[in-house]
């Protein structure tokens, strides 16, 4: 029976590749949006505007304090009640963007806060504007602190894309879930799914380890 199911699994392997493609698509789009929003929020959070800081702080606390599944349900089930209808795919991207940018915001804020006051003062007394100070002096130095946890966060985000399968996005985990109904070999099907995830995220883990070693001086 095992061999029969294995042959079936090989037969429908293209289906898995389609799921892998969808997972990569969601992962790639959300990594880019999360990084952009996360950096913007992180700069606000380590900035001087108290009101904006508080608002970002509440947002970050909400996202970090609740499970991602609950956030997906909130986006997917509650927004329609308020008149915002979203398909599963954009809803998944929105949930990923909300979740990921909060975590990246914390990493960026931590990195910027690690730069000493003197650097800010030196930049200000050289006559640089705030944007110039951040772009030319602060962020380049903070990158050293930001980069290793950022890549680690990317790995977590890629793995979290599996959770969007709950709202029916046909990505890798969902493909496995649909397949296991037809091919009742859970170990085999989900080993394959796991192996495909491993292929995407393990290189990033290696990069993250490398960066951690290189930057930790």
């Amino acid at each position: 029976m095992m061999a029969f199911y294995f042959a079936r699994l090989v037969e429908i392997f293209p289906f898995f590749l389609k799921g892998l493609w969808m997972t990569s698509k969601i992962a790639f789009i959300s990594l880019v949006t999360c990084t952009l929003i996360g950096f913007a929020l992180g700069m606000i959070r380590s900035g001087n505007n108290i009101i904006l800081k508080r608002i970002v702080g509440i947002y970050v606390a909400f996202v970090r304090g609740t499970p991602f599944v609950v956030q997906i349900f909130i986006v997917f089930f509650i927004l329609p009640e308020w008149g915002i209808q979203l398909e599963a795919f954009p809803a998944a991207l929105l949930a990923m963007a909300i979740m990921g940018s909060a975590f990246i915001c914390e990493i960026v804020a931590g990195g910027i806060d690690s730069i000493s006051r003197g650097q800010w003062e030196a930049a200000a007394s050289s006559g640089l504007t705030l944007v110039q100070q951040l772009r030319l002096i602060i962020v380049p130095q903070a990158m050293k602190v930001i980069l290793p946890p950022l890549v680690g966060q990317y790995v977590l985000l890629i793995k979290d894309t599996s959770v969007v399968s709950v709202i029916g996005v046909m990505e890798l985990t969902r493909v496995g879930w649909v397949t296991v109904v037809r091919i009742p070999e859970g170990l085999m099907v989900f080993s394959l799914v796991g192996a495909l995830y491993f292929i995407i995220s393990y290189p990033l883990i290696l990069i993250s380890n490398y960066l951690e070693q290189k930057m930790a001086v």
Binding site: A61, F62, R64, G65, T66, P67, F68, V69, V70, Q71, F73, I74, F77, I78, E81, W82, V155, K159, D160, T161, S162, V163, S165, V166, T173, G176, W177, V180, P184, E185, G186, L187, V189, F190, S191, V193, G194, Y197, F198, S201, Y202, I205
Partner: protein, 222 residues
Amino acid sequence: MLIDFNFRIILEYLPLFLTGLRSTFFISIVSIALALTTGIIACACRISGVRIIKYPAIAYIEVIRSTPLLVQIYFLYFGLPTLGLMIPEIQTGILALMLNSGAYIAEIIRAGINSVDEGQLEAGISSGLNYIQRMRFIILPQALGVTIPPLLGQAIVLVKDSALLSLISVMELTRCGQTMTSERFMPAEAFFTVAFFYMCIYFVLKAVADWSQRKLIFREAY
């Protein structure tokens, strides 16, 4: 929007949410205890020089860290019955959480041990202590302080991860929200209540984690 937020229905469903909360507590505490044990064992194997236990430990840690928890849960949930193991969903869920967090905890402990200065180890060797004594008197007491804040961070992650068990129909907090949604079609009330309870757990654990971090820095300053 939030104008017609119905508090009465939340009150009506409060007993259900409280059972869910209790279940989440139970799952989290049991999983953390088991994960800590797994993590310590995995870390001991990982840092030992014996190849036959070192490489399986590395494989375990790396495989767990590079696959999503949801896939691990489904792997056990759909996989164990094919092996003839019929166990209740909640035990499958706890097993998945244990294996998942165990790998992360192993890495946290390893990082703590590595953070102890090389000179300490050499001083231990030249004082004539053997491996066990060096670990017990020199490395572990110093490593412990460094590992506690990230371990509490892992506990926060685990509580949030336990929400995924709702997908294999374990009756915990998130599942209660789903139940209420399907019975009353009030997702806003249901999921904001669920989120509120998770936030409460998060803030308590975060306060403890921050406190332990401050203590640690305080001690290092001397």
